[in-house]
Amino acid sequence: MSGHHPHEGAGRTTSPYAARIRAIEALLLEKGVLTEPEVQDGIAYMEARSPANGAKLVARAWVDRKFKALLLSDAKTAASELGLDPEHPAEFVVVENTPEVHNLIVCTLCSCYPRAILGRPPDWYKSFNYRSRAVREPRAVMREFGFEPPEGVEVIVHDSTADVRYMVLPMRPPGTEGMDEEELAGLVTRDSLVGVDVPRL
């Protein structure tokens, strides 16, 4: 194998899983199932996606009521309107935080995540610790991220067990009335799109 892949970072070659994946990749290339450019395209696809895409969707929803309604009813179409490419076999659904309800996303079975929009999930999202505790003690998990839902707020956990990928539409923080869409997008963190935290000024 060529050994100059941009996704090959220090330390990766020591993991048995990494070694296995490299072996499978080498076989697929050797047998002509995949070509080197296809592998690079796949990596480029993932790297082109990031939480900044989610932040764009949220900021637009904060300033445009009609867009917000579309995002909550048909998130794939809403994403397309902003030039994002939500094409992926899975459904994409956005759930709204309100003064009464706070949403938290998890995938207890594996690591389902709206990758077509947000890219790869953070490592903690895939950890056994998060996956087991987010359903059982979501409030304790959020406290560890530095967020405690205010008194009277209901917590709803979404376990993405099947064909739907979920993203949270957080509430616009108070004191941001004068901010434009781009500034607002800058407040939207990846953690707030999963629901373990909220955007802050």
Partner: protein
């Protein structure tokens, strides 16, 4: 569609081996049908190279956290949604929200 929104259902306690999309902590638990999400190829077959056809109805099912965990910390309203295939659900007699 077999189940209408608001209907109470119970998740089967099946120990079916292999690739299933019903997490263990929901098995045997009762909840309500929130909505029908749609119909999708059966992941339990797709995982082994089969077509997954006929497609199976997939529901968003709600569960009260207090019904899932004896020691749940939080208000009684806190709940959880999971996406569960119809063949994992059975009706709860007389149950409705």
């Amino acid at each position: 569609m077999t189940f209408e929104p608001g209907a109470w259902v119970r998740v089967l306690s099946s120990e079916k081996p292999g690739h299933v999309r019903t997490p263990g902590y929901l098995k045997g638990k009762a909840g309500w049908i929130e909505t029908l999400i749609g119909e999708f190829p059966n992941p339990e077959e797709l995982a082994y190279g089969f077509s997954g056809i006929p497609k199976r109805p997939l529901y968003k099912v709600g569960f009260l956290q207090a019904d899932l965990w004896d020691d749940y910390e939080g208000p009684a309203e806190d709940h959880l949604y999971a996406d569960v295939y119809e063949h994992w659900l059975q009706p709860v007699e007389g149950g409705t929200t």
